[in-house]
Amino acid sequence: MAQAVVSTPGAAAGAGPPAALERPDFQIVPRAGLPIVAVVLVALIAGIASNKLWPLEFLHVVGGAAWTVIDLFLGFVLGPIMGKLSIPARVEFTTRLMPKMVLIMPTVVTVTLAAGWQLSTHLGTNLTVSPLHGWVVASFIVVGVMAVIALGLLEPANVAVLTELKKPQPNPEVIERLMKRFIYTAGATGLMQIATLVIMTKLAAG
């Protein structure tokens, strides 16, 4: 596997000999994952077109569970661990984890939202006369806030850190800053996922 080098801040400041980090080669968007995304999206279109309960439940529950668990795990388990790793370990972990996140997160979010809307239409919970309508609207609001945080801060930081790591001379301080932003926003969306769990279990319980 091809590798590149990242200079540490000490080296950039001219403090002693350059400390170089090995950086594995990687693709910002892993092309091998694109066919899997295509299959998932085709399944989503088929599920919505069929408008049957089981496929819609399956897509919404699987997508939503993946979205919630990934956010919680990243925000409260992996995030703090990444913050304590040495810089070389963090760089290696980042180059292996974050390209996958570029594909996984938009896909699970799209599947969850599109299947969720269709499921809600199928069950009638999006009608204002439904006793659960307030909970459905609450879920829209939670998702809306999470979307603004994720799309405005988290996703751009994810792509930017990978682009920085692709450069011949990546700037460790830029990577550090973007990684902090990624971890904090993952924590914030993780917290909001607890609200999602409350709402969704209430909706399932009726």
Binding site: N126, G144, A147, E155, P156, A160
Partner: protein
């Protein structure tokens, strides 16, 4: 290059903040409409929020266009792929509305909201990447 170099410390317009504001406005409009569909819904609030979001987005682009020496090549290299991805995501959500026979004014407002959503995110991603170039 260190983080304190002019490239990373130069003054840039608040593109991320404005982009998030524009995104937030269009999402509030979308939530308002979605909370009422498929029943009759007054379009006034959603149109107002959509117009405000479009204005903020246009102002954001104008502010960014005035930045001298901005890494536009890097911006477009990233933003074009992000646009493709988010156009696809918006298309999937539009498909759900069409599947449920949403039509007329609500469909127009929702479609324009999805267009604004699909162009806002690539700007946010492209800017975050290009500002460090």
């Amino acid at each position: 290059m260190s983080a304190s170099s002019p490239q990373t410390e130069r003054r840039l317009p608040p593109v991320t903040q404005l982009g998030m504001l524009s995104l937030g406005l269009v999402l509030v409009g979308g939530i308002y409409l979605s909370a009422h569909l498929p029943e009759h819904v007054s379009l006034g609030p959603a149109v107002g929020l959509l117009a405000a979001s479009a204005l903020v987005f246009a102002g954001n682009l104008l502010a960014l266009a005035r930045v001298k020496g901005f890494a536009w090549a890097r911006f477009f290299a990233v933003a074009k792929w992000a646009l493709l991805a988010y156009a696809l995501i918006s298309g999937m959500i539009e498909y759900v509305f069409l599947r449920n026979h949403t039509s007329g004014g609500p469909l127009v407002v929702l479609t324009l909201s999805l267009v604004l959503f699909a162009v806002n995110v690539p700007v946010l991603i492209g800017f975050t990447v290009a500002r460090y170039d």
